[in-house]
Assembly symmetry: C2
Homo-oligomer: 415 residues x 2
Amino acid sequence: MNLALKNGDLCQIPNKLNEYVENIFEIAKGNNFLSEESSINLSTNSPYLKEVVECIGKFKGKKYDYIVVIGIGGSNLGTKAIYDAIFGHFDLIEPERFPKIIFLDTTNGNYIHKLISLLKFNKNVFVNLVTKSGSTTESIVNFEVLMAKCPSIRNDLVVTTSKDNNLWESCQSKNIDLLSIPSKDGGRYSVFSGVGLLPLSLAGISVKELLGGAREALKKSIDPSATNPAVQSALYIYRNYTAGKNIYNHFYFNPELESLGKWQIQLLAESLGKEGKGFTPTISIGTTDLHSVMQLYVGGAKDKFFTLVSTKNTKNDITIETPFTIDKSFTGQLEGKTIDEVTKIILEGVKQTFVKKLLPFNEIILNEISERSLGEYMQFKMLETMYLGNLMNVNAFDQPDVEGYKSETRHLLEG
Amino acid sequence: MNLALKNGDLCQIPNKLNEYVENIFEIAKGNNFLSEESSINLSTNSPYLKEVVECIGKFKGKKYDYIVVIGIGGSNLGTKAIYDAIFGHFDLIEPERFPKIIFLDTTNGNYIHKLISLLKFNKNVFVNLVTKSGSTTESIVNFEVLMAKCPSIRNDLVVTTSKDNNLWESCQSKNIDLLSIPSKDGGRYSVFSGVGLLPLSLAGISVKELLGGAREALKKSIDPSATNPAVQSALYIYRNYTAGKNIYNHFYFNPELESLGKWQIQLLAESLGKEGKGFTPTISIGTTDLHSVMQLYVGGAKDKFFTLVSTKNTKNDITIETPFTIDKSFTGQLEGKTIDEVTKIILEGVKQTFVKKLLPFNEIILNEISERSLGEYMQFKMLETMYLGNLMNVNAFDQPDVEGYKSETRHLLEG
């Protein structure tokens, strides 16, 4: 992964952040789950990884058609980000490839009605309920309804939750397989825990590569030196935020990374949007959204800053032939180039326009779309977010304001 | 469809807008395609609809497995909005339901490589190339490559384009079926033209219902009186925009409406984001994104205003049984309610929180998710956007600033 800062300069690191980086460095050395930052130890903590691998081992031998992940927010966004990048984005045009992960998140009668029809008579279904608190309304509703309508699913089921809640106890008493989430590990930082690793591994994703990438990023991003990419990227974001720009857009030039963008929206919004502070994270997909929001970005209010995300290498690229030749002067330019070369040329056109129009951006170039580069990117982004919390003086690990609608909802449910 | 303004009050309509509504009323009476606003006549112009219906008739009898729509931006966003709401959102869990629409928009080597494998030996494929200019880079690349690799597709092919370009001529000389887009009808206002109607009809969507809904909305939304919902909604948006809020979020409480949200982002961003003006449209999905951005919306900067979109009626709802009963005090509250009742209770909790936290919102309640209500909603939104253009003093029909990256790209392609 390569982080390209537009002017190439490394920013000086404020003392307070420097101290925090050193603190994080110590937390990584400690390699336990005692502090709020300890999600950074998920990719290196052997005892915990052993527990996860054992759980995976129990089910890995079976050939599943569908893996149903019941979870919402931090319980599925990271898993979906990785699955969609590698497989999910192509699921519709690869109908014969299995297993497929189905993500059941919100409560929607029509959706679960159709899902039950699909699963009812299929013997090769694995279900993973993921809820850290053990009491997420949507997930419990979906789980109970699925259990009521498809009882055979009971045999290939793991519940991923925290050890200190009623759900853990309840599953123990019912002899249901359990996988733990370290109690200080918040949902949006949990992708490298059992939350992500179990369903991803069963779906054929290389967990080893994923964690390898995470460890690579960890090493660079807890380094207390000026070249630390997560620190430099956080400083870029902070500088633009304090300059009054309140919208931060990630422009992904690979459509299979759309769900990665959604994971990132949660990470930034929930970690930093508090006490009246915080920018609004948005995502765009290249080249698709050039035909949607580019007019606004270039011609509208100058209230945004950007990170352009693309890949260095692509796979299964195709050389363009133009048998139809609609218009020779145009198709002649395309002939012989590859499809992904055209995409890169468009990206280059966008960059030149951003420079001309003075739109602030930096660039992240992934080596390719793979488990390794996704692991690297996500670990990097989680550390960047923690550093931003430090710079912005907010607690990047809580979400005090979501309690409001939840208590209103509980009230109404009781009533 | 019901538009609920929070305080229930009808705003007074500025004179300039009043004149414009009367102007639009006259354009509807004229029922031709001579002005930029004339997309409003698509649902009522018999000669044009006859052309579309004739084209549909040629292919309607065949049973297709896949309908491939090659188009980007205004050429596919409206079609995808409607298809995904009715079918597409469920395509993965309804593998046996055909035909399915595949949307080929951006240039991505890996995606088209897999798509070619799927289509190569399938005899039941219909292809629709949609490009108004006839020279959209991505669409031409995708079309030429598909033609080169799957030549048999040539037999079930329609090209939807404007009559005044090279592509139209080229297709005529090659005896390829053509469907016209009225020349003043810009992409983001074209869903009720052949652009949307042909692929949607072949996919099993009721075009009659869709246009019926559009006509219903048209009647109400060109009415030069204070109860005109598109005018009142435009005034709500304009009031918040001029109060300094630069982010306008549509919160859809039906996940199958996510693509409708993307259509709307283009409509608002491209129509109004110019001359340094315009707000940034974003979408959220309920209840999913309550677990992602709700913290930011409630606890972050007060720079947003909202429209909550939900439905009155649902289909295939399921009564909750709780055989597993994780925690009786909790599951006891769910037992006997339906899934969609729970969603509505959560929405109610959100609304109460928005009121308490003084977050500005209005509400749109669709009767249900159907062709009729989608037609109604989309026609209403297109008129609302035109009225906003009038209020904001911008031309809602051009996109002057996208030319920049396109000419940079052309330069690079030539070089």
